[in-house]
């Protein structure tokens, strides 16, 4: 290798060999630590509903049905509910470990970074708490991580089949949640622009990547239109009114003037104090059910959705200040910036069910649940730090002209895109909703930590390259 070539190598992302075995071992160890205490996974209402419809069939599209298909597959493979639980956790940690191995020059550093990635789940307890559950947010995050991993594998092997795999993983992730696409807002275009990171790519290869992505995203969209196995079209569920009612309650509480339609309160106009009694920025549904001194909201009156929609259209444009004040406080709760608590960092149990699903190790599960709840009270262990440090890490890589900043920026944009959309449409501040973006931020932080260690170990490695998209390229040597 000439000096010039060596210098060029220093400026490139090292997308090297995949450490399949060590990544699999790390993934399996992390899976054991997460899954054993919570086996076969914590089940709340949503996952139990998905599990039920995996048996009875898809009835509506309130939740995307792919999660139910996953349960169906797990059961038909003889693995029960736990099979999906273990698989989603393994995919998460295996993909992260493999990706870190592909991006860092030394195996030991890659292993250290993968351990660091898992360490962030302990350090930021809502990550661990949510991973112990069967919430669909976990496979959404797992398949997002797998998509990044397969894209890096494609770059390492220069093999379009991995790009197709990345597109499939991306499609599965998007199909699991209605709001998941922003996770890939920059990753997807970058996969099309650079299906093999850093290598010269033909238009034909770009076209193939684009086609794979369009097909997989198209299938993701189709999955919430037509159900399996009969391919019958199921009407889209209208859940918009829940968000609109949440906004109306927030704006009313803020402005001390009720905009909640009287049809929903038995003809009573609520006072400001009554609305504040109902309103809870942690979850729209906390307004439902009995409340002290407030008529119960009746959401079964004819044309509830139209009534709420009309009230929303009337109130929000004239009270934008209060709308954003309400949205801000939901966001504050969601990211764990509220001083005194973090909402719903762990489910901690399997709800009563007709399937005989029970925790295998209830005491261990309870102990870990208590740990997650208690540790989540500490402000320095809240999810918002992940976003701060991931942004700082990406900025630092950019300032250092480390070519890996492009990948980090794409992943970071996905994480921020996810929470940005939730800011506008989130019906609740459950910690789980941001699990996929938390995972992406944790990945960036682990990678940045590995890069720092790489620089300490080999001070001239990695280079202060002037990177562009074209400057990111694969090298075969230098590991």
């Amino acid at each position: 290798m000439t000096n010039t070539a060596a210098a060029a190598d220093e400026r490139a992302i090292v997308v090297g060999e995949a450490h399949w075995l060590s990544s699999a071992v790390l993934g399996a160890l992390a899976t054991f630590v997460v899954c054993f205490p919570a086996w076969p996974g914590h089940f709340g209402y949503d996952p139990l509903y998905a599990y039920r419809t995996s048996i009875t069939g898809i009835e509506n599209m309130v939740w995307p049905p792919v999660h139910a298909y996953m349960f169906w597959l797990s059961r038909h493979l003889g693995l029960g509910a736990g099979g999906l639980f273990a698989a989603q956790v393994f995919i998460l940690f295996f993909s992260a470990a493999l990706s870190l191995g592909l991006l860092l020059r030394r195996r030991a550093l890659a292993i250290g970074a993968a351990v660091g990635f898992f360490g962030l789940f302990i350090l930021v307890p809502p990550l661990f708490g949510v991973a112990m559950s069967q919430w669909r947010d976990v496979p959404t995050g797992s398949f997002a991580m797998l998509a990044v991993c397969l894209w890096l594998c494609a770059s390492a092997q220069r093999d379009l089949r991995f790009v197709v795999g990345a597109a499939i993983a991306l499609g599965i992730s998007v199909s699991l949640r209605y709001n998941a696409f922003p996770l890939f807002a920059l990753i997807a275009p970058l996969i099309v622009a650079q299906p093999f990171l850093g290598c010269a790519v033909s238009w034909r290869e770009r076209g193939a990547a684009a086609l794979a992505l369009v097909l997989c995203l198209g299938l993701a969209v189709a999955s919430v239109q037509w159900r399996l196995p009969d391919l019958k079209r199921v009407d889209a569920a209208n859940t918009k009114f829940t968000i609109q009612l949440f906004d109306l309650l927030g704006v009313s509480a803020c402005s001390n003037e009720s905009f909640v339609p009287r049809q929903l309160t038995g003809g009573v106009t609520l006072s400001g104090a009554q609305v504040r009694e109902l309103y809870d920025p942690r979850h729209a549904q906390l307004a439902y059910g009995p409340h002290a001194g407030v008529p119960e909201l009746n959401l079964t009156v004819p044309q509830t959705e139209r009534i709420i929609d009309q009230a929303w259209r009337k109130a929000i444009p004239t009270h934008l200040g209060c709308y954003f004040a309400h949205r801000n406080i939901v966001f504050v709760e969601q990211l764990g910036m509220e001083k005194h608590h973090l909402f719903y960092p762990v489910h901690g149990a399997i709800d009563p069910n007709e399937f005989g699903l029970k925790l295998a190790h209830p005491r261990l599960s309870a102990a870990l649940t208590a740990y997650v709840v208690e540790a989540s009270r500490q402000l320095w262990r809240r999810p918002f730090w992940l976003y701060a440090f991931a942004a700082a890490a990406t900025l630092t890589l950019l300032a250092r002209r480390d070519p890996r900043w492009v990948l980090c920026l794409a992943v970071l944009a996905g994480a921020y895109g996810n929470v940005a959309l939730l800011y506008l449409i989130g019906p609740a501040a459950d910690a789980r909703y941001i699990f996929p973006s938390n995972v992406l931020c944790a990945f960036i932080i682990a990678l940045a930590g590995g890069i720092v260690m790489e620089r300490i170990a080999t001070p001239h490695a990695g280079g202060r390259a002037r990177s562009t998209l074209g400057g990111i390229r694969q090298v075969e040597s230098g590991r």
Binding site: G289, I329, T396, A399
Partner: protein, 176 residues
């Protein structure tokens, strides 16, 4: 390397300052108080809400006045869920209750002071999935209750008022 560290810590410090720990906004009228016993409770600047209509004729009456029998309950008076600092002031307390004989939650809740007079009340119907998970004999997910009282200190006892309106069961005791 120095540049890298400065950038990293500068960015983190800047972001941290921008997203410092947040209190509830003023318009929510909520704050967190430090109670005498060291437990913190959320506090609202709003007044104590109106009690349910069925409770109003019972306020101040002796608990045993219209009671025909006492039955068995499982349950607990767990905490002060909210302090109302407006006028009139008071507290909302919360817990769960399950009628062992009726195999249903008592629909109504009575709060009784140390002289066995009714000083508040509320209703069940709040979702409590943890209760049937921990106690399989409880078959309802809606054993949670709320109750309002203007009593701000001392001990109160909580009773469930069963569906017949004449039977009561003791749910628990709470130090305010």
């Amino acid at each position: 390397m120095r540049y890298s560290r400065v950038t990293l810590f500068g960015a983190v410090a800047g972001l941290s300052a921008a997203i410092a720990a947040c209190d509830q906004p003023e318009w929510r009228g909520l704050s967190v108080t430090e109670a005498v016993n060291g437990e913190s409770h959320p506090q609202s600047s709003d007044p104590l809400p109106q009690p349910p209509a069925w409770l109003q004729p019972l306020q101040g009456q002796p608990l045993r006045a219209g009671v025909s029998k006492e039955v068995d309950c499982k349950g607990n008076a767990e905490n002060v869920a909210l302090i109302y600092a407006g006028q009139p002031n008071g507290v909302r307390i919360a817990g769960w209750a399950w009628g062992s004989d009726e195999r249903a939650p008592p629909p109504r809740i009575l709060i009784v002071d140390s002289s066995a007079r009714i000083v508040g009340g509320g209703e069940t119907g709040l979702e409590r999935l943890d209760v049937p998970t921990a106690l399989p004999e409880v078959t309802s997910n809606y054993t949670g209750w709320w109750a309002l009282t203007s009593q701000l200190s001392g001990s109160v006892e909580v009773y469930g008022l069963m569906a017949d309106g004449k039977s009561i069961c003791r749910v628990g005791k709470l130090d305010l």
